[in-house]
């Protein structure tokens, strides 16, 4: 187990979207799901996702366009982008904006994050 977990606690309210996990192919805010509700389910957090080839593409895209500033929203943004790309591998800009609209970011103004997801979708062609 890693020492630092990226399932952040969003103050049990889920409005910021930073505390995000994927559960049964659906994006969830982990602070709003009772532990008993996930018995027997497949839960992917950023720790698990980090081991995948898709993450490597996503990681590179976020770094290349400097889509990370303070970094607090990044785990949630990456999992929201993964959930979006696994449903729609070639989203246009509006679809990306809609896909990430549940996650808040205060630093970047979102443009860099949108570009990173576009780049990941291009470069990971076939992975999603």
């Amino acid at each position: 187990m890693p020492d630092i977990s990226f399932v952040l606690n969003g103050k049990e309210t889920s409005y910021a979207g930073s505390a995000t996990e994927r559960l049964l192919d659906v994006l969830h805010n982990s602070c709003c799901v009772a532990i008993g509700a996930v018995v027997g389910s497949c839960v992917v957090t950023l720790e698990g996702y980090r081991e995948t080839e898709r993450y490597a593409v996503m990681d590179k895209a976020f770094a290349d366009v400097s889509a990370v500033q303070c970094g607090f929203c990044t785990p949630g943004m990456i999992l929201a982008a993964e959930a979006l790309l696994s449903k729609n591998p070639h989203p246009d800009e509006t679809e990306i904006r809609e896909g990430l609209s549940g996650n808040l970011c205060r630093c970047t103004g979102y443009n860099a994050i949108i570009r990173a997801v576009q780049k990941a979708a291009e470069e990971g062609n076939g992975l999603w």
Binding site: A16, N103, L104, G109, Y110
Partner: protein, 146 residues
């Protein structure tokens, strides 16, 4: 510079175009600097339009969380643009200037000036200027579409 459209029935404001040009001296990390400028610019538009902080009479902030203190999301200002005025600043390290708070300062004034123009020139002097404030101005002037 901000260009916007106002729905005179609901008071909702849609930002059509937002352009910020900032004098930052020499940019050191171009991408991060653009990100900082875009982020601050969007934050300024948020402050000017939706981010209402409510205090009670004892001075406690009544907004509990992001359900009642709204900040801009990916969908709010999709057409934000930023340009840099790149000129060496002799007083700064490597010709750079501080650029942290810079983009936040002009944004609310630009937003309010645009709302003022759209509403036909009534002098507006506070932010955030929310949809409710817009409707109040329209109602006062008898222009409300309701």
């Amino acid at each position: 510079m901000i260009e916007l459209e106002i729905d005179t029935y609901t008071g909702c404001v849609k930002v059509l175009d937002a352009l910020g040009i900032y004098d930052v001296g020499t940019p050191i990390d171009y991408n991060v600097l653009i990100g900082q400028m875009e982020g601050g610019f969007l934050q300024g538009i948020g402050f000017a339009s939706i981010e209402t902080m409510v205090y009670d009479r004892n001075g406690y902030i009544r907004n509990n969380n992001f359900s009642d203190y709204l900040i801009p999301t990916t969908l709010d200002v999709p057409n934000l643009r930023v340009l840099l005025h790149d000129s060496e600043y002799s007083e700064g390290p490597f010709g750079a200037k501080g650029a942290g708070e810079l983009p936040l300062i002009g944004a609310p004034a630009a937003y309010l000036a645009a709302v003022e123009q759209a509403l036909g020139g009534t002098r507006l002097n506070h932010v955030p200027f929310t949809a409710e404030d817009v409707v109040a101005v329209l109602a006062k002037e008898g222009k409300a579409n309701a």
